[in-house]
């Protein structure tokens, strides 16, 4: 409170740049207006992108039909006649993403519990820094590493015709989304007030019971948030998945099938597709479906979190 006041008073005395008269500066550049403007601006851009993707994808939906586009299993965009069915890509994306989450959620959750609740402060600092460095590695590096190391290994280990499978992509993706997830979950565990832990210990709970019954429920919205952020990144990740999943547009039959994801299809084909063609529009259609999926995920997440909060409040 005090800091805010001092800031205000300083603004009054010398808070204006030399080339604007005081009145204009006050009105146009007041902090509220400026931040409001920037906030509107960023939302405006997201909205613009959505409108653009939507209008570009209209031809494919009117020519082919929404259900046919989503349920058809043949993707032959340059054949005569062409066929635009994205069911293999939707299933491919879902398979790779769920594999990634299946591996990374337990790792992130238990890693975060260790760092936040159990580790000494020295160990905690070391681990936290290392994890944050991991999140700074560009995804193409993960992809190349996977291609050179993991792909031949998976092929030999399981005796497959190719090491580029949904499993390979899912594994590398798991380690790509792990740092973000771990970091957010750890933050939300740390944010649980110490009184909760003390109260739990006072009732005779062990350390593990305290974590399980007091800390995790109190941090649940942060945990769900972290997992969903990871999910969002996983479903949109393009380059690494493209390099590791094999890119065959067929409906996957097992975790050892090569798959192609939705973002990979856009990235593979957008480069040289002829502008304004149905194929071009179909790629935007994939983008729109991706949009719809992430919106749905966010919506469900908010619903889960708000329900949780209400139950805790009761």
């Amino acid at each position: 409170m005090r800091r805010r006041d001092s800031c205000r008073s300083r603004e009054k005395t010398r808070g204006r740049p030399f080339f604007f008269p005081s009145g204009i500066t006050k009105r146009v550049f007041s902090g509220k207006t400026v931040t409001g403007l920037f906030a509107t601006f960023s939302i405006f851009f997201v909205f613009l992108i959505f409108i653009f993707v939507f209008t570009q994808s209209i031809p494919v939906f009117t020519n082919i039909g929404v259900t046919n586009f989503i349920l058809n299993h043949k993707w032959l965009p340059t054949a005569h006649p062409p066929s635009f069915g994205i069911a293999p890509m939707i299933l491919g994306s879902l398979l790779v993403t769920s594999l990634a989450l299946a591996v990374s959620v337990p790792l992130a959750l238990f890693g975060a519990i260790y760092i936040s609740e159990i580790a000494s402060s020295k160990v905690r600092d070391l681990l936290k820094t290392t994890v944050e460095v991991l999140s700074a590695i560009p995804s193409v590096v993960y992809g190349f590493f996977g291609l050179v190391v993991l792909v031949p290994f998976i092929q030999r280990f399981f005796g497959l015709p190719t090491g580029q499978t949904a499993l390979t992509a899912g594994l590398v993706l798991a380690f790509m989304i792990l740092p973000t997830m771990l970091s957010i979950i750890e933050d939300s565990l740390r944010a649980v007030p110490n009184e909760y832990r003390e109260a739990s210990f006072a009732l005779g709970a062990t350390k593990w019971e305290t974590i399980k019954n007091a800390v995790i429920p109190a941090a649940s919205s942060g945990i769900v948030g972290g997992v969903l952020l990871g999910l969002g990144r996983a479903i949109g990740e393009t380059i690494a998945v493209m390099m590791l999943s094999g890119g065959a547009a067929v409906i996957p039959t097992s975790i050892f099938s090569p798959v192609r994801t939705m973002p990979a299809t856009i990235a593979i084909e957008m480069g040289e597709v002829s502008f304004g063609s149905l194929h071009y529009s179909a790629l935007f259609g994939i983008g729109l479906v991706l949009f719809a999926i992430t919106f749905a995920v966010n919506f469900i997440a908010n619903w889960i979190i708000s329900r949780k909060v209400r139950r805790v409040a009761r």
């Binding site: 500066t25 050179v148 547009a249 593979i268 084909e269 040289e272």
Partner: protein, 282 residues
């Protein structure tokens, strides 16, 4: 730091940068006081296979001749020749010879300029004992009729079939010269570039793929119908997965069009041809 100062400072910095940028462009445009030189401009349209060559050649030409503008666009060989006939471009690039009917529509005045050769090598892992396949066998591998190396005289291994993304020029060439109108099986695997294709095939004993012939180090290029993809076999036309690339003009070219075609056929242009993974004429 106060928000207002930061905002005003960044806006001011932005204005300065934009001004510098615009002024920079202006001086570039005026520069070198060459008042006698007339700005010239040509349009080139056509084959997406030839596009990388034309694009790089046009860039190099425009760097050396700042008053010339060369607009390059794709669209396909047929589109290129049609727009040449309709006068919408000065040079059409094509990955096939012009058809008789096209020449008739141009009043028999189409002039052909061979600029490069395009050849694809079919590649496998160096340990694969298969040395040669027929065109028919390659096609059946890509349609999914042949699924195991033992069917073509190799070991008992499932074939991992690799193709390029359907919008690439390499795919287009392969599709035309090998598949001849048939669709590949949907279960073929896709790679994003010739480099990635080579990387994958060089580490996977099950794999088969195809690349431009400048990408065959570290992998084994197969003989097709018994002919190896050597430069000599490509130049004398015996290697089956190859074709010539052309530029077409209406009548003998003149001015910038003539100079540019000569540039592409000359030593520097042929170096670009090799750089982009094609086979030079010499």
């Amino acid at each position: 730091m106060k928000v207002t100062t930061v905002v005003v400072a960044s806006v001011a910095l932005g204005i300065v940068l934009v001004t510098v940028f615009l002024v920079g462009i202006r001086t570039n445009e005026v520069g070198e006081n060459g008042s006698n030189i007339q700005p010239r401009s040509i349009n080139i349209a056509g084959s997406t296979t030839v596009l990388p060559i034309t694009q790089l050649a046009a860039e190099r030409w425009m760097n050396a001749h700042p008053y010339d503008t060369i607009n390059v666009s794709g669209g396909g060989s047929g589109v290129g020749i049609t727009s040449l006939i309709e006068g919408r471009c000065d040079i059409a690039t094509s990955s096939r010879r012009a058809k008789n009917i096209e020449n008739e529509r141009a009043g028999g005045r189409l002039v052909e300029h061979k600029i490069a050769l395009d050849a694809l090598a079919v590649i496998v892992h160096p340990s694969n004992p298969v040395n040669s396949l027929t065109l028919e066998q390659i096609k059946k591998i890509y349609t999914g009729e042949i699924r195991n190396w033992s069917e073509v005289g190799g070991p008992n291994l499932t074939i991992a079939v690799y193709t390029r993304e359907t919008t690439s020029g390499t795919y287009e060439s392969f599709h035309e010269l090998v598949m001849r109108g048939e669709n590949m099986s949907s279960s073929v695997l896709t790679t994003m570039s010739s480099g990635e294709m080579r990387q994958i095939v060089s580490t996977n004993p099950n794999a088969i793929g195809y690349v431009g012939i400048s990408y065959i180090s570290g992998v084994k290029a197969l003989a097709v119908n018994g002919v190896l993809p050597t430069k000599q076999n490509i130049l004398n036309g015996t290697y089956p997965i190859s074709r010539a690339l052309y530029m077409y003009t209406i009548g003998e070219p003149s001015g910038l069009a003539k100079e540019f075609i000569e540039f592409v056929k000359g030593p520097e242009g042929q170096r670009i041809v090799e750089e982009k993974g094609f086979v030079s004429l010499t």
